[in-house]
Symmetry: D3
Amino acid sequence: MSATRTSLAIECGSAAREKLRKVGTANVANALLKRGFRNVYLLGLSPISTGQERMVGPAYTLRFMPAREDIDTMANYGRDDNLHRRAVEECPSGHVLVIDTGGCLKSAAAGDLMTLRMRQRQVAGVVTDGGFRDTPAIRETGLPAYQRQSAPPATPIAMHPVELNGPVGCAGVAIYPGDVLVGDAEGVVAIPRHLVEEIAEEALDAAEYEQFAEQHIARGRSIFGLFPATPESRKEYDGWVAAGRPPLEMYR
Amino acid sequence: MSATRTSLAIECGSAAREKLRKVGTANVANALLKRGFRNVYLLGLSPISTGQERMVGPAYTLRFMPAREDIDTMANYGRDDNLHRRAVEECPSGHVLVIDTGGCLKSAAAGDLMTLRMRQRQVAGVVTDGGFRDTPAIRETGLPAYQRQSAPPATPIAMHPVELNGPVGCAGVAIYPGDVLVGDAEGVVAIPRHLVEEIAEEALDAAEYEQFAEQHIARGRSIFGLFPATPESRKEYDGWVAAGRPPLEMYR
Amino acid sequence: MSATRTSLAIECGSAAREKLRKVGTANVANALLKRGFRNVYLLGLSPISTGQERMVGPAYTLRFMPAREDIDTMANYGRDDNLHRRAVEECPSGHVLVIDTGGCLKSAAAGDLMTLRMRQRQVAGVVTDGGFRDTPAIRETGLPAYQRQSAPPATPIAMHPVELNGPVGCAGVAIYPGDVLVGDAEGVVAIPRHLVEEIAEEALDAAEYEQFAEQHIARGRSIFGLFPATPESRKEYDGWVAAGRPPLEMYR
Amino acid sequence: MSATRTSLAIECGSAAREKLRKVGTANVANALLKRGFRNVYLLGLSPISTGQERMVGPAYTLRFMPAREDIDTMANYGRDDNLHRRAVEECPSGHVLVIDTGGCLKSAAAGDLMTLRMRQRQVAGVVTDGGFRDTPAIRETGLPAYQRQSAPPATPIAMHPVELNGPVGCAGVAIYPGDVLVGDAEGVVAIPRHLVEEIAEEALDAAEYEQFAEQHIARGRSIFGLFPATPESRKEYDGWVAAGRPPLEMYR
Amino acid sequence: MSATRTSLAIECGSAAREKLRKVGTANVANALLKRGFRNVYLLGLSPISTGQERMVGPAYTLRFMPAREDIDTMANYGRDDNLHRRAVEECPSGHVLVIDTGGCLKSAAAGDLMTLRMRQRQVAGVVTDGGFRDTPAIRETGLPAYQRQSAPPATPIAMHPVELNGPVGCAGVAIYPGDVLVGDAEGVVAIPRHLVEEIAEEALDAAEYEQFAEQHIARGRSIFGLFPATPESRKEYDGWVAAGRPPLEMYR
Amino acid sequence: MSATRTSLAIECGSAAREKLRKVGTANVANALLKRGFRNVYLLGLSPISTGQERMVGPAYTLRFMPAREDIDTMANYGRDDNLHRRAVEECPSGHVLVIDTGGCLKSAAAGDLMTLRMRQRQVAGVVTDGGFRDTPAIRETGLPAYQRQSAPPATPIAMHPVELNGPVGCAGVAIYPGDVLVGDAEGVVAIPRHLVEEIAEEALDAAEYEQFAEQHIARGRSIFGLFPATPESRKEYDGWVAAGRPPLEMYR
């Protein structure tokens, strides 16, 4: 396992992380679309707080299946080998815990104490296609967290933890362990692990071009010939970058 | 009816109310689960303002059925014997008006003037599995209010008020008059009236233990052996309580 | 086309606009109900920012149909005759761009640069029954914007722009070009263009009466005999208006 | 109660029943639309057997609310005062049992033995916006039955019977006791009780005209000037009826 | 327009039609997937009769938008320039009428007399993402018909016909006039018009290979090395075809 | 693995199978409810043919997750180590293949050739919470098959096979390998493997009692005192059984 973690660390190194923190999730999705990936955005999820920090990190997964009354009791939930609780203690620091509930909104994928523990362990965030309990207190922990809708009833009422760190689906998107999850104030996107470096590079470039375009548009320029970029506008952008990105008034 | 109200007052006395104001809705749901109640949380509803005060109070109910064009006119709505308007004037102070719309999102379960009137009459809150109109103005009244989604069209377009204070369903949960509704910044849970005292007691105990656990977790302790509570951690907690709940640094 | 725009300008002149800015969307819906219009509220949409300014303006429409892989490429999206991009440049100032996606939540109806351009062009707002991308940045542009749920993937993944300024459906409501859209912190309502003046007048009257009623209710008066208005309460209101709308304490 | 039943018998007398057996549910809905009723068809329900006989009869209603674990046990279900079982024994012969489940598809609104008992008691049919259990055996009883989707789990798992023969909603349509339900191989429509005679008359007339139109269309005539009826085509129809409805070949 | 029809006739000539009548809709979808088309199957629609004949023909479209009370009356419905009724009279013989309702299930996309007229006019079928009325009688006309769910209320209650034979969406699939619709006992698939000949050829080849594979599987052969076809199994198939498709017992 | 299969054979031996073939799925669900299992019925699934034979057998499972474009190609689908195709060849005879699609209705869980192969291999049936392709041809194979809704597009468009014979969820019900699935003309229910013998026994007893009750009801007896069984009616039943189950006319 440590071998895996090492390679993950390489694949989502500090340079890529730094770039991904500066881009929007929509930029990431666009860069993936150019490579043929049409289904990478976890649609329907939203951050529990619009003010939460940006989230970047490789996926560590937890899969739930439906509960059964003779197996999923509160006693079982309290055991130290319960996979739900183990996930909270074992998700590596810097990683994002991705919880596949099969879209279940009847009971909780996590609560405030689990979330606080993960924050303390330097987990990078938590994402589920189900819902959390204690969301007001989760907000206070500061851990970036994404869900479909709050689901406060106790987990064993509807869900059974069945696997740690295997391939899962979350909100209809394939997530393999080590894929990098990026979250902003809008939502979450997943990057296949072998593409992280190039997607980070390309998304950052696109985001920077968009900042250039934004300044022009804010000054009255049409989007035609500017957004999406044309060869001409791209050349204009390159010249502006070469000039040290001066204020547009001074440059033009 | 006054007999009933008296007994309600007893069953949700000031002590229980005070306790329930200090606990989260998830704590309440957990205490009910221990007694075999798995379906007490009004899933899918949310507060119209995250800043609204906590809501605790016995249920007074209003049931809607689908409207019919020859019965449900604006003229009918304006009559003083219209059950919708009577509910606003008759819901006892300290109670929560629970509006069963059958999940209808096509017209309004209440608006700002009705809400203001209830606030003025010291109603404790309003909960519906449909939606309100004038939600921006409802926020200003300060009345705790929970809905599924705003539904501004005039009530008679889709709904007919058919019964006051009978047993109803709301968001798939059984609500009998006098059951106690508890609402926080996450959602709403219902407590069967005969269990209010013991649930309040137990939920408060759980909430206080969780505050103890939270402090430990914030200082780096694992959730294993701490949350959920074990006999050992419980003993540790009791000792800490006996010591006057000192700052953890001083206690350990 | 210019003829049409002129008449639009007449039909939603500054007087009507001014009145509509002062009323709630629920007031508008009520006034339309009196004339037999039961389906005018765009249910299920919400503002992307509760702090955004009020929106009033005639509809300019864009219709999407499902995408097809050989037609809807990023290259096609970048063309200057792409109807999606043309809509952003051609929607007249003071108008509201209404985007009919057929309820598609798989890709974006617009993003931040398009929105910024519309803001800069003095478009009055943008409304879709699908979703936007870059919603955090759209909030910063200040353009009033309404959607069902964020939908950040690139537009051509799921949608093809097929028509400008024809009659469309949006959130199940018929929208003809020139109908006036009104948006507040709760949602959006559509007024058939030939009724704008009278609806504005009537909605404002209702809103002002409600402010009168609100003050009474805040002082403890029952809704009976006050809300909805009765002939007596209406006479009372008229007297108060004639007296210059004094503080109620002084008037009574 | 017997008074009520008598009047029901009058309002849905043998003549009206006979007419309604000959018309389609869509004919009934059209006749109601002419009187301003737009929401009378129980959309989304279907017959459990396309071969079942036509259903006509006044509504006798049963309302369910959500179950609660301490109340809704199998023991409670077996009691003779259980409203669910009483409904089966008390629904008057010739009436239709309308079961309002609030759209609940988690447990059964009725099963084969209940249905057989109702068939034996000459109940005219059973309609629910939830689902049945034992649908294969229900088909064999021959009782006309309409549901949304099979829901075989035991009733007390999710539903509690709370009222007999009050006003209810079913599939979003208002049903008052005594309203007449008409069902064919497509679905179910409800007629307000005071309109049964005139609706039966008008729907039969429309159905007979449609048979006339059908014969013309089958021989190649356009729907223009024929369907919907025009004053001219209506005169033509009247002449044909006066002629004894001869085969079209002989008539023309 | 006649030019267009001619070219349609060419593009869906008798040879292609004949082939498409012999293949399943799933075969067609597979052949399109090989060319990069992933969204061609009209998911969620089903034939109103499992016994209806196969449907093949170019699309002629009708688009609905939401109704408005002042426009969509029964009187308007009866006019000869009503696009809904014109569609029934103008859809060319051999074509399939594709009705885009925007997924509306509140009122009817067509009824039995319209359907009978189309059958009489040799229209090849009718497909909608909404629903029909009079489905039992539509079955008797023999016209292949596909819908989501019956929707018997009168059309003008919820829908307004707005365009004939433009590009539309139906069940989330792009349909351009002239695209060829193929329907079997399972559902409906759309072929872009410029690909009809090659898709027909390839789907037929795949269907014939599957018949070969089916005979082997029925005799106990594994799907490995047989289905999907391998180069070896394909060679084996070609030999068998060359041998005149003899019974497998005689061939092996 | 062979050890496991042996024990499965024991747990669902010929005696239990024989009994389960004679009972309805609703009988099985009732017997499980008595032991506290409330969530065992696979709601929303239906047989593809009402005439298909009864299904009884232990579960062998296949789990799908969402597809990704670079992994899930038709080439990958054709490989002999593809888990989807392996499931068809490896599901033991007498077992039921349970396919967990996560509720995905965008592509096929199986088609006719796979189904025919399973039928030939004496697999007992196939159940999915997604949908099949080629359902008309699947009907002809005679294999009992249950689905939510047809989903003909090629599997790799939306789904990736990720695990064989692990614990899964199907239609919201927990299915562990070896649990016994029972299917009738209404739907499918799952029995935890350690309870199969006793549930079979009890369900058969209940079904036989219901046949007794049915005969009485058919002759005009009330359900009170008969259904559900009372101690008295049970004694009556036992006497009738002891008498050799004579025709009721002769017995009474």
